[in-house]
C-alpha cells in the first residue's frame, strides 16, 4: 500500500464489525456473539471490535444489534423489556445450514472480563443503542442508566484507554462526557455535520459509512485533531476505497482480507 497519512502515523487500526463481521459464508457466527467477538481478537488478530450495546430491563448492558429480538433470535420483544438473566437464554436463530443453536445473547461484562485479562487490551467500540420504539416514555431514564452503566464498566475493568463509545446522538455523547470527561467518544453519521460538533466538544472521533465519506472530509477531521473511522465494506474494492481515504480506523466485515490488503507492500 502507498503511504497512509493519518493521525496514527500511517497505521490503520482494524476493528471487527460486531466481532468478526456480519454473517457470511466465511463467517458463520452471529454478530455480537461470544464466539464472533473472541474470534476477531483471539484468532484473527484484529486490533479491536465494535459491539452493539443495549440496556436490559434490569440495567445490564447486553450485546445485540437489532431493534427487536425476533429478527435474530428465538425470543421476541425489546431488549429493554426483558431481564439479562432471561436474555442470556435467548438463542440466535439458525438459517439454512448456519446453525447458531449454541450461541446465546451475552452481556458486555462477559467480553470485558475476558479481554481485561489480556496483556495487551484490544480496543472495544461500544455502539450504543437506545431504541426509541422500545423505551417510549422511559427513553431518558434508559439513556441515563446506560451512560452510568458504561461508566461503571469502564471503571470496573480500568478500561478508559481501550474502550470507545459511539453514538449518533450529540446529546448522548455530551452526557457521557459530563460523567466521564476522559472517555473516547465518537459521533456517528454525516461527516460535514459531525466534524464541527466533534471539534466543538472535543470528541475523539467521527465515524461514518465509507461510501458517504470523502478523503477531503477525513483530511479536514485530521486537521482538527479528530480521528476518523469508516465502516460499510467487506470485499476488496470497498476496503481499498476506504483505505485510500486515509482513515485511522477501519471497521470491517472481513478482518483477514483487510489485514492482507494493509500488509501488502
Amino acid at each position: 500500500m502507498s503511504e497512509i497519512n493519518n493521525l496514527n502515523n500511517g497505521v490503520i487500526y482494524i476493528v471487527g464489525h460486531g466481532g468478526a463481521g456480519f454473517v457470511s459464508l466465511d463467517n458463520k457466527l452471529p454478530i455480537n456473539s461470544f464466539k464472533s467477538v473472541t474470534k476477531a481478537i483471539e484468532k484473527q488478530n484484529a486490533d479491536g471490535v465494535e459491539v452493539d450495546v443495549q440496556m436490559s430491563a434490569d440495567n445490564q448492558l447486553m450485546l445485540f444489534h437489532d431493534d427487536l429480538l425476533e429478527t435474530a433470535t428465538y425470543c421476541s420483544g425489546c431488549i429493554s423489556a426483558i431481564s439479562a438473566e432471561e436474555l442470556e437464554e435467548c438463542q440466535y436463530k439458525s438459517y439454512g445450514t448456519l446453525n447458531f443453536s449454541k450461541e446465546k445473547l451475552i452481556t458486555l461484562d462477559v467480553i470485558m472480563s475476558r479481554f481485561s485479562q489480556r496483556k495487551v487490551k484490544p480496543m472495544v467500540f461500544l455502539d450504543t443503542k437506545t431504541i426509541a420504539n422500545c423505551t417510549e416514555n422511559n427513553y431518558n431514564i434508559v439513556e441515563k442508566n446506560m451512560i452510568e452503566k458504561i461508566d461503571l464498566i469502564i471503571k470496573k475493568y480500568n478500561a478508559q484507554s481501550w474502550v470507545h463509545v459511539m453514538s449518533g446522538s450529540e446529546d448522548f455523547l455530551l452526557k457521557m462526557q459530563q460523567l466521564n470527561p476522559g472517555i473516547k467518544l465518537w459521533i456517528d453519521g454525516d461527516f460535514n455535520t459531525n466534524i464541527p460538533i466533534a471539534n466543538a466538544h472535543n470528541f475523539y472521533g467521527v465515524s461514518g459509512n465509507s461510501s458517504a465519506v470523502t478523503s477531503e472530509q477525513i483530511s479536514f477531521a485530521h486537521s482538527n485533531g479528530i480521528y476518523a473511522l469508516l465502516f460499510g465494506f467487506k470485499a476488496q474494492a470497498g476496503i481499498l476505497s476506504a483505505i485510500k481515504k486515509n482513515p485511522d480506523y477501519l471497521q470491517t466485515d472481513n478482518i483477514i482480507l483487510t489485514q492482507q490488503i494493509l500488509l501488502q507492500d
Binding site: V11, I12, Y13, I14, L25, D26, K28, I41, E42, K43, Q44, N45, D47, T97, L98, N99, S101, R118, K119, V120, P122, I256, L257, Q259, Q260, L262, L263
Partner: protein
C-alpha cells in the same frame, strides 16, 4: 462450524443404494491383479474454498492410494489464497463395469498460512486447516487412458489459530463438505 449435515449424509446413503441397485447386474468381475500409476488434476470445493490439487496415485485392483499437493485458488471460505498443502487419499471401488465405476474415498487435506496482524509480524508461525472427508463418487472413462471423476463428500475440519498478542494457539473443530471434479491419466 456446523453440526453433522444429516441431510447430506442421508442423500449419500440413498445415492449409494441407488447406484448399487443399478449396476449390480452389470458388474464385471476381474479376477486378475490390476496395478497402475496415474496422475490427475482435481479442482475441488472444501472448507478452504476453491482449491486445485495435483495428484499422483497407485491403483491396485479396487484399492486406490493418492498423494498430492493442494493449492488454494479462491478465498471464499478461507483467509487467503495461494497456500499449498499436502493431500492424501485412500479409495475403494465398490462397483464397476467397462465405462463407469463408483467409489468411496477418504481424504486428508491440509493448508497452512501465516497469521496476519497489523501490529505484529508473525515470521515463523503458521495457522493451519486440516480437513478429513469421506466422498462418494463416479468415475467415467473418457478415452483409453483418460478418465474423469466427480465425488461429493462430508467430514470434519480442524483449524489451528495463533493469537499473536498473547502468543497462544487455539483450536476449532467443525464439519465440512467436499465437492471434487478430477481429470486423470493412467501413466503406466
Amino acid at each position: 462450524m456446523n453440526k453433522i449435515p444429516y441431510k447430506l449424509v442421508s442423500l449419500l446413503i440413498m445415492y449409494t443404494i441407488m447406484n448399487f441397485t443399478l449396476l449390480k447386474s452389470q458388474e464385471i468381475n476381474t479376477p486378475k491383479t490390476e496395478k497402475y500409476i496415474f496422475a490427475g488434476l482435481v479442482p475441488n470445493l472444501s472448507h478452504t474454498g476453491l482449491n486445485s490439487s495435483a495428484i499422483v496415485g497407485l491403483q491396485v485392483n479396487r484399492l486406490q492410494f493418492t498423494a498430492g499437493l493442494k493449492y488454494v485458488i479462491s478465498d471464499s471460505f478461507f483467509p487467503g489464497i495461494g497456500q499449498i498443502g499436502p493431500e492424501f487419499g485412500v479409495g475403494y471401488t465398490f462397483l464397476k463395469n467397462n465405462k463407469v465405476e463408483f467409489f468411496g474415498l477418504l481424504t486428508f487435506q491440509a493448508s497452512f498460512y501465516k497469521p496476519l496482524a497489523t501490529f505484529k509480524e508473525a515470521k515463523n508461525k503458521r495457522n493451519s486447516v486440516h480437513e478429513y472427508t469421506y466422498s462418494y463418487g463416479i468415475k467415467i472413462k473418457l478415452i483409453n487412458r483418460l478418465w474423469m471423476e466427480n465425488s461429493f463428500g462430508f467430514g470434519g475440519v480442524l483449524s489451528r489459530n495463533h493469537d499473536l498478542q498473547e502468543n497462544n494457539v487455539s483450536y476449532s473443530y467443525g464439519t465440512t463438505g467436499l465437492i471434487r471434479i478430477g481429470l486423470f491419466y493412467r501413466l503406466f
